[in-house]
Every structure is written in C-alpha cells, then in structure tokens.
C-alpha cells in the first residue's frame, strides 16, 4: 500500500525552488564521485537511489513504510478521538475543565520522545507503545483546537436545533461536531507532521519495527546507501502526507474556506 505512495509520480512545475533541489542533488552526486567529499559514508545519490529502487522492488521498503504508517495512523485516530472527547467534556463541564485543565497543561510541554523510555517499561517495545506515542502526539493539539472550536460554535445553531426539537445527542453529532471539524482538522494537520517524527523516533529507540528501526540498523551496519535511502523515503513521505492532508481538508471542510472563516 505504501509503495504506491512512494513511487507515485509527482507532477512538478519547473520552478526555481525545484531547480535548487535538483542542483543540490547534482552537487551531492558530483561531490561524492569526484572525491570532493571522500568518505565511505558519503555515497553518490545515484547509488542511494539504486539501492532504494532495489529494496522497493523487493518489497522490503514498502513493508517497512506500511508498518510505520499503520502505527502512526492508528495512534492518530486514537489520539484524535481522545482529544475531541476530552475537549467536549471541557466544553460541557466547567468543573471538569477546572479539575483536569492544570494536569493537561503540565503534561503538554513534556517532549514526547522523553516519555518513550518509561512507556517501554509499561507497554513493551512493540506496537502498543508506538501507537500510544502517536496517540499522545495527536492528543494535545486536537484537544486544544477542539476547545477553541467549541468557543466558536454559533449559539444560534444550537438553539436552532433545540427549537426544532432535535435531541441532545443528535445536536452533538449533527451540529457541534461538524461545526468544530475545521478546528479539529487544523489540530490534526499539526499532529500529522509531529506524529511522523515521534513514531519514527520511537521505532529508532525501541523494538525492531518500521523505517526508524531500519534507519538505525543500516547506520550500525555501515550501509550508507540504505541509510540515506531511508532518509529520502521519510522526506518524501512527510511531503506526501502533508499534501494529501491538505487535499483531504479541502474536501471535508470546503465550506469553512468558502465562507472565509479561516482567516
């Protein structure tokens, strides 16, 4: 599944920014070939790409990317649900916000990689720990934006649903949640970029899974070509995820941009 993402042909416009990227790739190739940088740890780009093509064709890279993405998305989904749920609770109950708010604010600034070692002790090295890391990554920005979104919900829209006799649970799903969706999506966009980082870091630190672990493994093995290949894959992945999300967002909340509420 992820192989498609990587190999997907990108439609580029020949802009000057792209020319710089190509120039840097060229510099990479030339500096490695001519001995400007003479090191076994600096292979030319062409050999990195050749190794990458080989491991992609063999299915190894797609499998690694797929497993990393799967953990990341499962975590994002769990963290988003938890963030929205707690945000709704904060919105519904001042008491809950007062009691739980300070704890949330205290936990939020902890760098997420710092909780990987203690989390390993509780959840082990494998999926559960890494999905939890991605979930925590998504949780905070989604929570913040949910609370912010609830403040922006039009009181008239809720009252309108009441005057038509729409029951509370239906008001939640048909008015409140659609109304805060743009805010949740904005939180999720932040979370998506962060979650790729934290998921890969978690894989690098613990266990034997995913692109993160592969990256560290290749470094220890002194296989520079594969190592750079993994870095390139992550760069493309991060870019593609962001672009994909932007398109998804336009599709889901086009009304929000059309009504100029985004700015």
């Amino acid at each position: 599944m992820a192989g498609g993402t990587i190999a997907a042909p990108q439609r580029f416009r020949p802009t000057s920014g792209l020319l710089l990227v190509l120039g840097l790739f060229l510099l990479w190739e030339v500096s490695a070939r001519t001995g400007m940088v003479d090191s076994p740890n600096w292979p030319p780009l062409s050999r990195v790409l050749a190794a990458l093509a080989r491991d992609t064709a063999s299915g190894e890279i797609p499998l690694l990317v797929g497993s990393t993405l799967m953990r990341m998305f499962m975590g994002l989904a769990a963290g988003t649900v938890a963030g929205v749920a707690l945000g709704l609770l904060f919105g519904a109950s001042r008491f809950a916000a007062r009691v739980l708010g300070p704890t949330v604010e205290l936990l939020r600034p902890i760098p997420i990689p710092a909780i990987i070692p203690p989390l390993v002790l509780f959840l082990g090295l494998d999926n559960t720990m890494k999905i939890t890391i991605a979930a925590i990554t998504a949780f905070f920005p989604v929570l913040t934006n949910t609370v912010q979104g609830l403040r922006a919900v039009e009181a008239d829209q809720i009252a309108m649903a009441r005057t038509f006799g729409v029951p509370p649970w239906r008001r939640l799903f048909r008015v409140t949640l659609p109304a805060i969706l743009p805010y949740v999506m904005a939180g999720l966009r932040v979370a998506l970029a962060l979650a790729l980082v934290t998921t890969v870091v978690a894989e690098m630190i613990a266990g034997e899974q995913g692109v993160g672990h592969y990256l560290v493994l290749m470094q220890f093995a002194g296989r520079a070509e594969e190592m750079y290949g993994a870095v390139l894959v992550l760069a493309v992945l991060g870019y593609a995820l962001n672009r994909g999300f932007l398109a998804f967002e336009r599709h889901m909340i086009g009304w929000f941009f059309a009504t100029g509420r985004d700015g």
Partner: protein, 261 residues
C-alpha cells in the same frame, strides 16, 4: 382562544459585581390562535429575550408561559423560533435543501428521501425552487432568510416566533418578504408573533401591535390595527388607517418608550 400566554413573566440577568439587572418586569400578553401579532419596541428593550422565553429557549426568572394550555419548559413542539441573524442559524456545511430538511429529519419514520421531499416543497413555497443544491453562503441575505423561513415551515408549526426577521435586508427585499409572509400566514393558518423595531412593518402585517416599554420591559399598550384581510403589504401603506396607526405608534415610541433622544 389563546394559543400562547405569558403571565407576569420576569427576567433578570446576572450582572458582574452587582445585583442582577432586571430586563423584563411582570410582562403579560395573550396571543390568539391564528392572529398576526407584532411586538414593537426600540433596540435593547428586551424583544429577543421575550421571544426566546416564549420559544422555551430561555428560562424566565418568574411567571409562567403556556402554549396550547400547557406550561412551557423547553421548546414546545407547536412553536418554532426564527432567528434574527439568519446567516448564523443556517448550517454552512449543509446544502440549502439539507438545511431545510434539518427541521424534520430527526422525526420518527422520516426517511432521507421523505425529508428531502418536504424540504423541496417548502423551498418552492418561499420561491427558492432550484436552489436546493446551493449552499447558504452562496445566496443573498434575502434568500438566506427565505431558507430560514422554509426550514421553519417544514416543521409545520402552529406558531411562528420571528425575531426581527427582516431587519438585515434592504428595503425592497423586505417588502418582498412581507408579501411572502402574509401569503404564507393566510394559506397555512399560522399564528405569528413578530418582533420588530419597525413601526410600518408592524402595522402593515399585523392584527394587533403590542408596544414594549424601555428596560425593564413590559407591555405598554396593545393596539388593534383593524386593517382589512386579506391585505397587500404594499397597498395597505396607502390607507388612512395605516397612516393614523403609524403616527400614533411613532408618537408613543418617540415620547415615552423610545430612545433617550
């Protein structure tokens, strides 16, 4: 027969660092079934508060509200409240048709096809045939107000509670909406309570006009217009009775109930 009764209704709002401010003081009024009643008063006198209490959207601090003889606690099924700022009460993520369908789609036995058919019929009634697939923000203010009206009608209420529904549109659109309002009221046998600060609008549309005092508001007087039915919302403005009523009500508003100036 009274379909909506307010009896000694009071409302006070909590004020920061002081005693609560009284916005409404022992207000009583009885709305007859099938009548078109306007409640007239200057801005800030408590018109929205009054209407929201009648709609069961706001709790009074004292007194009782009855709809069809039953005390109101929560929005009664007979009444629908139409918001002052129509743009804000429409759901921007729903098409015009689905906005109207929202009024009924939660009801038991209402399939999606059925609620959309209801919506299309109401859109036709307000002159918006063919706009079902548009989004509210693609329409003009007057058209958005028609959508809000269609949505209210879809619920088939006995009572329409309208909060300055025509105050945010231009004068020509307003007259257009007045005609539509009279047509719908006549056809459907609705009871309409319309809140407004526009004397001409109140007189042109209503059977009775209730004047509110300044805050804390209460009913200053109730005037029977005695204007003929059926009536044309534009032509009625040229009758002597209309001019007489306009003069009388403006006089009261400007001397007693109106702004400080």
């Amino acid at each position: 027969m009274a379909i909506l009764e307010l009896e000694a209704v009071e409302k006070s709002f909590p004020a920061r660092g002081g005693p609560p401010t009284l916005a409404m003081d022992k207000l009583s009024i009885s709305v007859r079934e099938g009548e078109f009643l306007s409640i007239l008063g200057p801005s800030g006198c408590g018109k929205s508060t009054l209407l929201q209490i009648a709609a069961g959207l706001m709790e009074p601090s004292g007194g009782t509200v009855r709809v069809a003889g039953r005390p109101v606690n929560g929005p009664p099924p007979e009444a629908v409240y139409v918001f002052q700022q129509y743009g804000r009460s429409l759901l921007p993520w729903r098409s015009v048709r689905d906005n109207v369908a929202f009024a009924v789609e939660h009801r038991p036995g209402m399939s999606r096809a059925k609620s959309r058919a209801v919506a299309d019929a109401q859109l036709e009634a307000v002159g918006l045939t063919g706009f079902g697939d548009h989004y509210p923000w693609q329409l003009s203010g007057g058209m958005q107000q028609r959508v809000a009206l269609a949505r209210a009608l879809a619920a088939e209420p006995k009572i329409l509670l309208m909060d300055e529904p025509f105050s945010a549109v231009d004068a020509l659109t307003r007259l257009d909406l007045h005609r539509l309002m009279l047509e719908l009221w006549e056809k459907r046998g609705l009871t309409v309570v319309l809140v407004t600060h526009d004397v001409e609008e109140a007189v042109a549309l209503s059977d009775r006009v209730a004047l509110l005092t300044k805050r804390p508001s209460t009913i200053a007087r109730v005037v029977e217009t005695g204007l003929p039915r059926p009536r044309d919302a534009v032509e009625v403005r040229e009758t002597p009775r209309f001019l007489e009523l306009r003069h009388e009500l403006l006089e009261v508003l400007l001397t007693r109930g109106g702004h400080a100036a």
